[in-house]
Symmetry: C2
Subunit: 235 residues, 2 copies
DNA sequence: GTATGTGAATAGATTCACAGCT
DNA sequence: AGCTGTGAATCTATTCACATAC
């Protein structure tokens, strides 16, 4: 994707006229923008040039009012009576969502780390995995998805060389804090943690968490509850 | 925040002491219970018998008031001036979170599906993966993490035999809706979707979503934003 | 003194509903 | 007519603050 500052300024205009930085987009909206993006790319592929909030909502599994409010944070303007211009929307949401290619380092190449390093969706979304590190020396030197595994001690060097800006932690729980500390020492300030452990980071570091076991436990609760509610009925 | 369900019965009985079905635990609280559980198991291992909300909060990366309010929903009672009894808390949270072992079927054994089927955290959390299916015949018959892969056409049979109650979708995006429909036809009513696609389900089915690329995009936004804010860093 | 339990206050996200533009 | 843009209303979640109990 191209980065041009003229558009950046246009987006920033939302509420902050002079300072170059736009208002922060609500977390909940942010989480939906990539979904909208997928829908937009889909209809763009079909040659459609405008979408209504209703149509985009259907494609995204949300309601139309939410789409409109979300897009208002992005600073996009649609045309009343018509809808939104697909290409323009793709460009503008793309701008908001990092705009350019952002390389990623994964720490921990066990089952999960390997699966993540091969996950097509990352590179497709502009997040190529350019570095892999592990604490286990027997892993070092292996090639996974085209990337040679380095030792975790060389993390700083590898990050500097590849220019990675995002770090993914895919270690066991007991190694997670050390991994996170290492990433921060290497200059990474945005981290996605897959290890089932609570880790602490300084305030300036952005930490997100994906907790696979917890997801199942939440589902399990609902399943359980439903069974308790109607013990014999199968819809 | 993946699913909205309007459970008329549950809403109607806001304060039911012990008649039939009880608590509608808030979604946000539910998502934290497994985290508390991990902290509790940790301190229990150290022989500690009581915890304060403050201590549990520190272990879980949240604040103490939230812990207390959350625990009030699970119906637990602590002792003022002392704290909560660790064993009892573990037992009660365990009860809420499905209580018993809940087997899982994974549909799609590509990179991600294989990694998930080998993920220790699932079985440790009471969610053993007892069935694997795939649409690719060349995968059928393979043994992964001790489970033989079946063909997706046999999904109904496999689910019935293994008693799986939860389904995980780990297919490519274009196959996700078919996979979900298959799970529902097989009687599964609680689904965790890893495919980067919007899928629709009937209202009685609980659908949660884990979107890996989206997680990175959200991080990317924050990283991007931070760089725009202080442009003196790495180019 | 210490820590729970919970109403009340605050913040955040969703949905409604309608004025206003094309 | 059709559809956006957005204040206002609503629902959900978080945090505060303090009476209450040990």
């Amino acid at each position: 994707m191209t980065t041009d500052r003229t558009d950046a300024a246009a987006v920033a205009e939302a509420t902050t006229p002079e300072s170059g930085i736009a208002d922060p987009i609500p977390e909940a909206t942010l989480a939906r923008l990539p979904i909208y993006m997928r829908g937009l790319l889909e209809v763009a592929g079909d040659g459609v040039t405008t979408v209504s909030s209703r149509r985009l909502a259907d494609l995204s599994g949300v309601n139309a009012a939410k789409v409109r409010k979300d897009l208002s944070y992005v600073g996009t303007r649609g045309t009343r009576g018509v809808g939104y211009e697909v290409d323009r929307l793709i460009r503008e949401i793309g701008m908001v969502l990092s705009g350019e290619v952002t390389p990623v380092v994964i720490i921990g190449v066990g089952n999960l780390g390997r699966a993540l390093s091969r996950y097509d969706g990352f590179v497709a979304g502009g997040f190529p995995v350019l570095a892999l590190v592990d604490a286990d020396s027997s892993m070092v030197g292996r090639r996974i998805a085209g990337v040679i595994v380095s030792h975790v001690d060389d993390l700083g060097k590898v990050v500097a060389e590849t220019g990675c800006l995002l770090g993914i932690v895919a270690t066991p729980a007991h190694a997670a804090q050390v991994a996170v500390d290492g990433l921060i020492a290497a200059g990474i300030r945005s981290i996605l943690n897959f290890a089932p452990a609570v880790v602490s980071v300084p305030a300036e570091v952005e930490l997100r968490k994906v907790d696979l076991a917890t997801e199942l436990q939440i589902l399990g609760y609902h399943e359980h509850r439903r069974e308790a509610a109607n013990p014999q009925q199968v819809a």
